[in-house]
């Protein structure tokens, strides 16, 4: 955790430094340091309960809705502090989130969901442009515009959730398990969309349990284990690391012994 070893922080990107989060007395994140440089796709991997969603809540300022709070460290984006801001102010700084479980507004129409996504944004004209971009990315949302969002299929709901998060024209998009519970073809489609969104200039922080998808999309990845960063490095190198392959890609030997012999020179390891 020595600061000297880290690359200089990118003033334009997301920088999480030594973050501590607790839900009441239960600590959920400990000393998490992470960066998402501008224009990158960065993945955060980890098992259930590792703290991935907690990290995104801390960035978006919604911890208080879960009885949690930041107890140490800080979060900065584009050179300004995010920690301490409330959710609406984070959106105003260009950071939006497609939350875990999609959380679309089921009783509202698809068009109204998109409109809701623009509520924190910058006026009518910007919203109209954002809408065009979203419907370009997801033509199916245009077809279903007048339909109640609760009637959409799981894949369509996920597209709506991502589209809605794009309505405020974010420069940083946080995605919490966007492929969860989707058929392979739809996972593929979502992955392609993430690439496209990124190509259009939006930085993406992608939380996934589906390590194969995430590592294919991301340039850089972090692995969270029980609230701490256990590994991090360029996505390609993590994807070829035996430990990651065994634990997150469902490959590897029949036994579960520690694979100490695996060469991991490129991985930054923070001691737990």
């Amino acid at each position: 955790m020595d600061a000297a070893a880290k690359p200089p922080p990118d003033p334009a990107g997301l920088r999480v430094h030594d973050l501590e989060v607790a839900y009441g007395r239960v600590s959920a994140l400990r000393g998490v340091t992470l960066e998402a440089p501008r224009g990158a796709v960065v993945a955060v991997l980890g098992a259930n309960g590792a703290g991935k969603s907690t990290l995104l809540r801390a960035i978006s300022g919604t911890l208080r809705h879960h009885g949690g709070s930041i107890t140490g460290g800080d979060i900065a984006y584009a050179g300004a502090r995010l920690s301490g801001l409330d959710a609406a102010e984070v959106v105003a700084r260009g950071v939006t989130q497609s939350p875990e479980g999609r959380r679309i507004f089921a009783r509202m129409t698809v068009a109204e969901n998109l409109r809701a996504g623009a509520l924190g944004g910058a006026g009518r004209k910007a919203a109209a442009e954002a809408r065009e971009r979203v419907l370009d990315l997801f033509p199916v949302l245009a077809e279903r515009a007048a339909q109640r969002a609760g009637l959409l299929s799981g894949g369509e709901q996920q597209m709506l959730a991502i589209g809605r998060a794009l309505m405020a024209r974010p420069s940083l998009l946080l995605l919490d398990e966007p492929t969860l519970g989707l058929a392979p073809l739809m996972q593929q489609k979502i992955a392609e969309t993430v690439t496209e969104i990124n190509a259009q200039g939006t930085t993406v922080l992608l939380v996934e349990q589906n390590a194969a998808t995430a590592l294919a999309l991301a340039s850089h990845a972090y692995v969270l284990e029980v609230g701490e960063v256990a590994m991090s490095g360029p996505a390609a190198e993590l994807a070829s690391s035996d430990e990651v392959r065994r634990r997150y890609l469902g490959e590897g030997g029949p036994d579960d012994d520690e694979d100490d012999a695996a060469p991991r020179p490129v991985l930054t390891r923070w001691a737990g």
């Binding site: 300022g61 959106v91 959380r103 507004f105 009783r107 509202m108 809701a116 809605r164 405020a168």
Partner: protein, 296 residues
Amino acid sequence: MTHFAELLLNGVSMGAVYALIALGFVIIFKASEVVNFAHASLLLVGGFLVAELHGRIGFLPALLAGAAGAALAGAFVEFAVIRRSRAADHSVLAIVTIGVDIILATELTRRIGTRVMAMGDPWGDAVLHLGPVSIAETRVVALIVAGALIGTFLLAFKHTGWGVAMRAAAEDHETAALMGVRLGRVSLSAWAVAGALAAVAALFLTVFPTPGLDRTTGLVALKAFPAAILGGLDSTTGALVGGLIIGVTEALMSGYQGEFAFLGRGIGDVAPFLVMIIVLLFRPAGLFGTRELTRV
């Protein structure tokens, strides 16, 4: 038949007024997840201001002042009480509103004393004759004004950014916040709108054939609670339908009291609560509601 038509018209008119109150009750519940037991007192604040001010500034300005005053009172309660205890349990908050109600009601009762205050309205006791049917002008105006306010509200709720924010917050607080909705503002505006609607309702509860505003006016407003609850606490449609059901039931039960003599006198007054209980027996979440009362 004429008698029935008169009763029905009166009932619908009263129902529209109850709906104004119930609507405010419902939007507060949607935006703040609080059952506002201080609603009748907000109504009394509005009515009291109209009664106090009309002599000095004229009826219409007094009505506007009453609506503004009740809106401010509502916003103040939200800001000073509800917001501070946002993290608290919602049933605790509901009890807090009872406390607010007691404070407001005590102060207003002290100021009103034993007076029966006139509202200074231009309609007086004029009666309109529609063929064989006679109805007080105040009832017709009540129906028109309440209908217009409800219509405006529903259009705004459906189509404006405010309405979308309100519905998003009602459906999912956290996700609305993620969209950049400022939940505090949504909640504040809900209380203000509810207060203003209640003030208008106060006017129509106290004009002819009622002699005027007195310290029991708040109790009359309580009939709107069953309207909101039987419609479904979180449903605007429910508030309207509930209001109409209560208004019509009350008018018919009072009008045909002779026929219902076996149920005892004053059946019109308890009818709203009876209807509410019967509806809740069959539909615990109310006619249009999605959340059961166990939530509060």
